[in-house]
Assembly symmetry: none
Homo-oligomer: 253 residues x 2
């Protein structure tokens, strides 16, 4: 089954969308746009840019790549930016606290190509210049893309990370997408999966499940990661929400 | 045939030497050093740098990669810089006037690895920021490395070109690759996943969720498939069973 596409600019190209989460300097946003366009990528989303939007410094640095900047969509939260996406990768070092698969850029591109070939909207998350992606943002991804670097000197910046992922993507850009054996039914959108988690969270809050309070954040993060990573289809999300609702309502009087 | 090695710093590592020909800004030399060191490369040679040598701006930009800058060898001409090299690649757009093979970065790395494995000293030439490599310098190479870029926007700078070639080189160089994808946290056993489903089924039975009776079988089958297919880890199964238990128990009296 093909997933219907909306009309936003970044949906037109059969390519991953690069999502910059809370980037700080406009120059770095512009440099990322240039890195992307070098390899033919144009779909950019920006979450909560520190210096607001539009940003003249981003436009100046982007110069020939200003179409990427002009077409960028800005969101207040990572969840909103990923709401219509079906498959999300996070570029970050490995996080031992998260049970996410860790893939190389090559493996990431192979996964992206399969999903996109099935009509799924795919995103790659890039963190802020200094702090990188938070654990919370990383937990929203299906997998981590880790670029193997020299352990004694690992200093890739935002535009370099974007460059390397875009470069890998471009290698097969003219090739037919491989079949994705796992995607007969595409996963539900991130927003629908998130609503399933939130529904579960609300019901669990109501029965006092997240206890003691100091463990609540971690318990919620782990549950969220499990739900978001499961790749439930639309029908499965509906079925599970029905189950959560039934359990929340409890035994008939 | 094994080639004997001299004692220069850039001969110690079994890796290609990056030769910057007439670079202009020190910052770009420093950025190239950082790009190289990210992927474990340390051998740099510089031909006739515009602003002399040493260059404080190069050292400042290199920061953590200053060992590359400190170990760089400076030559007056490209011929001198390549004098002890056995195999040379030129990073540049294709030159129709030169009868040189044109290879991708992947093919270049494959050739380099073979030569270096035979003990040959190999170099990769990078041109000046604006003008790139001259035809004369390019003609000194055995082959051209051409990075396939968007024909409508090709704007790789010196450090980006160095980054991409170094990245390709590093793939076979034994850098710690990310863990085998999907193997870090294996999914729970089928039996444990099945027990999660059965637990959920029991709780849902208790609240009369599977209604009407003629739909119960299909509802259960769909729920089971969603749970079994999700690939939950052991920790996730425990976390979800805790959630099911909490919901089943309902609100505290």
């Amino acid at each position: 089954m093909r997933v219907s596409r909306s009309r936003a600019t970044d949906d037109l190209s059969a390519a991953p969308i690069f999502v910059l989460v809370e980037p700080q300097m406009g120059e770095n946003i512009g440099a990322a746009a240039r890195a992307m366009l070098n390899f033919g990528l144009t779909g950019m989303r920006i979450v909560n840019p520190r210096d607001g939007w539009p940003n003249p410094k981003a436009a100046a640095m982007a110069s020939g790549a200003s179409a990427v900047i002009d077409g960028a969509r800005v969101f207040g939260t990572t969840d909103e930016a990923l709401g219509d996406c079906h498959y999300v990768l996070a570029t970050t070092a490995r996080r031992r606290e998260l049970a996410l698969p860790v893939v190389t850029p090559e493996e990431a591109v192979s996964a992206l190509r399969g999903r996109i070939g099935d009509g799924q909207r795919c995103a790659v998350l890039f963190g802020a210049e200094r702090s990188g992606l938070s654990s919370d943002d990383t937990a929203r991804a299906d997998a981590i893309v880790s670029i193997p670097v020299n352990p004694a000197f690992a200093s890739l910046n935002l535009s370099q990370a974007a460059l390397l992922v875009a470069y890998e993507w471009s290698k097969g850009a003219g090739l037919p997408a491989p079949d994705n054996p796992f995607a007969e039914e595409p996963p539900a959108s991130r927003a629908d999966a998130a609503r399933l988690f939130e529904h579960l969270e609300d019901e669990l809050d109501a029965v006092g499940h997240f206890y003691p309070p100091e463990k609540a954040t971690m318990m919620k993060r782990n549950l969220r990661a499990a739900i978001m990573r499961a790749g439930f289809t639309d029908a499965e999300v509906r079925s599970l929400r029905g189950a959560v609702k039934a359990l929340g309502r409890g035994k008939p009087e």
